[in-house]
Amino acid sequence: MAGRGRGRTQFTFNVDSLGFGRGEALPASALVPSPLFPPLQFRPVPLPTGEEVDYMLALKQELRASSKILPSHIRPGRVKIDNRVHDISLPFYGGHFLTFAIEMAFFHCWFQQTLEKNEKNQSEGEEDEEKKKTGEEEEESGEGEDYDEEEFEEETDYIMSYFDNGEDFGGDSDDNMDEATY
């Protein structure tokens, strides 16, 4: 209380460290939030270049592309254990079931056997499928399955049927040469 009048102009800390003296204008107040991407003061250093860097880049992209084709890439598609298996999560050819817990050992064994059976069925059913494809295109389920057969889910970059049907396209293009096609 005694200090109220006399000590009114004193602060408890060193005022110089604030950056502005008494009586000066306060720094401008912020009216908007700070920007989401504040401008960079210094540009980042350019990436290193060289043979090693390029090779590792190529390796990385290859690994990414091939991991999508491997059996360990699991798609949540339907697993139909009948003549037409359209889920391509095939068993892994290196796995030994004893390394998995026993509850999955039985699953793995069963799964492996079932898919081995389907491998054989599928190779026999291949010719049937070709005929069915053209015949059953009206059917809804047929269409869905054709879609699955021709294209895998959107993550892959390649549409499989085009690799097979190169000769067909060559025939068709003669007819459509005059029109703009995409």
């Binding site: 050819y93 290196g94 491998e119």
Partner: protein, 543 residues
């Protein structure tokens, strides 16, 4: 597991293994250990898919299982290792190292095993021989023996190791009983290093040459036949049940040594780095993992082991060693005087110096060289007042204050209060600025994880934006390829090529350039991640 690490793991799992594995893996990461039923229930996925995902994760060494909370009688619990998933970023580096050490064969062996997680030796040899044959000219093929040699060398230098067998619950008994005793529950696999036959090569009877897959057969049927052949290819090669996995710790040791050697080379000169390389090579097998310094080697031994092409005479070698010991970086230390002087390489100190250099360079690139000067000052002098900082750094007060506060707001610099009086009155308290290397390294490591997550996100975004263009260009390429294979005229080819307009081509070029840049940046950030992780791990070991 921090939020950034979990986010990055989710992105990596999705890229390599798909959405289902990502969902299951992320949930396990977040919730710790869960049993199968709980996992299926909480992720609302069918039991089938959960089992498949767990199989994939176990195969790749990212998931372990063991007795749960209810003890051996209860259901098994699964645990996912965040660290192991993050190592997926480093796969290209592992493969490149294998290539530089063991050539193309070694590279392909490493690639196959990394992609599949675990493989038998015979399987690997066959696949790699086939792949090598595919790339050779017609009529040539790779002998299996070449691949077996490369594989053996990888195992001898410990880059590959056997997958440990799953321990049985009664494994406390003598070793001879272990393979025979069946158990009602199978517990988690033991540490690979504890398994005595970790690096023993099996005797396999595998002769032959790689087969070239005929590409002119009908694509699908050919693949089916090949797959059927593989499935039926159960000829016993003598190594059933012996699976091999990549020993990532060995690779990390190799990378750490490389980092130290290149640091010495850039600080001193090529010859000193050769000497350090020799010392590291000599003590590789005798030094335990995570040791603070290598086993001591005498100057005489170093002299004998230095490669002769360098032509270093004995007195010169002694001078170099003295120079290395006196260097403030303290890469090499003197441990005794017998045998001409016993020298060690200070591994942990070298790692700390490398981490410090990384931190300083980060500050320099983000805030400028004057802020970096303040940062280095604080690293060396530990605690300084604001006035002292301004004086020592020789920077005018206002700017120094600005920079200090910027660094403080980014959490790179901390403020330490030392009160003179118990009431902590501001005018009677010392405020000292300080930098702690370990917490700052952890902070930057999390920033790195976030950066990689952002890079992957951006790449996925760019790909999605231009999906239509990408698909179109791939279709056109496929058409072109098949046209060329079936021998079409150049007019037709030109016609098909014109289907992509010039601005579209430009856009695709730009997209490819961006994606390459983003990928390359990921590799680059991973190198920093490796350094910082090694440093942080080394500090926790030495406690």
């Amino acid at each position: 597991m921090t939020a950034q690490e979990v986010r990055l793991c989710a992105l990596l799992l999705q890229e390599h293994f798909g959405e289902v594995v990502e969902k299951v893996g992320t949930h396990l990461l977040r919730s710790g250990a869960l049993n199968l039923r709980a996992l299926a229930h909480e992720t609302r996925t069918s039991l089938d898919l959960v089992k498949k995902s767990l199989c994939v994760l176990v195969q790749h060494g990212m998931c372990t299982f063991g007795p749960g909370r209810r003890g051996p009688a209860g259901p098994l619990e699964y645990r996912v290792s965040c660290e192991r998933i993050l190592y997926m970023l480093r796969y290209p580096r592992y493969i490149y190292t294998a290539k530089s050490l063991y050539g193309d064969t070694g590279e392909l062996v490493m690639e196959e095993i990394l992609q599949r997680g675990q493989m038998t030796m015979s399987n690997t040899v066959r696949t790699v021989a086939d792949r090598l044959t595919q790339n050779m000219e017609d009529g040539q093929s790779t002998d299996y023996n070449d691949v077996v040699t490369a594989f053996s060398r990888l195992v001898e230098t410990h880059f590959l190791q056997r997958c440990p067998p799953v321990d049985t619950a009664t494994s406390k008994k003598t070793v001879s009983e272990v393979p025979e005793s069946p158990a009602s529950t199978i517990t988690q696999p033991s540490q690979p290093e504890n398994y005595p036959d970790c690096y023993k090569l099996p005797q396999i009877h595998l002769t032959g040459r790689g087969k070239r897959r005929r590409s002119d057969e009908d694509g699908d049927v050919g693949a089916r036949v090949a797959k059927k052949a593989k499935l039926e290819h159960t000829e016993a090669c003598g190594d059933e049940g012996i699976y091999w996995q990549v020993n990532v710790e060995r690779f990390h040791l190799h990378f750490r040594h490389q980092a130290i050697i290149s640091a010495v080379a850039s600080k001193l000169d090529q010859t000193s780095s050769e000497i350090v390389r020799t010392m590291l090579r000599m003590s590789e097998v005798t030094t335990p993992a995570n040791a603070a310094y290598t086993q001591a080697v005498s100057a005489n031994e170093i002299f004998r082991a230095v490669p002769p092409s360098y032509n270093i005479s004995r007195p010169i070698l002694d001078q170099y060693l003295t120079l290395l010991v006196d260097d403030p970086m303290e890469f090499v230390g003197k441990a005794g005087d017998s045998g001409g002087g016993m020298y060690v390489v200070n591994l942990h100190r070298a790692l700390a110096n490398l981490a410090r250099a990384t931190l300083e360079s980060v500050v320099q690139e983000r805030f400028g060289s004057r802020s970096a000067r303040i940062f280095r000052l604080l690293l060396r002098k530990r605690h300084l007042e604001q006035k002292q900082v301004e004086d020592f750094a020789m920077i005018p007060a206002k700017e120094a204050k600005d920079m200090l506060y910027t660094l403080l707001s980014e959490n790179l610099v901390q403020l330490q209060e030392i009160p003179k009086t118990p009431d902590h009155a501001p005018s009677r308290t010392f405020y000292l600025y300080t930098v702690n290397q370990l917490p700052t390294a952890r902070l930057l490591l999390q920033n790195c994880y976030k950066a990689v997550g952002n890079l992957i996100d951006r790449r996925l975004f760019e790909t999605k934006e231009n999906k239509r263009h990408l698909e179109k260009s791939q279709r056109i390429e496929a058409i072109l390829g098949s046209l060329q294979a079936s021998g079409a005229e150049p007019a037709q080819l030109a016609e098909v090529e014109e289907m992509i307009t010039a601005p579209e081509r430009q856009q695709l070029e730009a997209l490819r350039h961006h994606i390459n840049k983003l990928d390359s940046s990921e590799n680059q950030v991973d190198e920093t991640i490796f350094l910082l992780e090694s440093y942080i791990k080394s500090t926790s070991c030495s406690r």
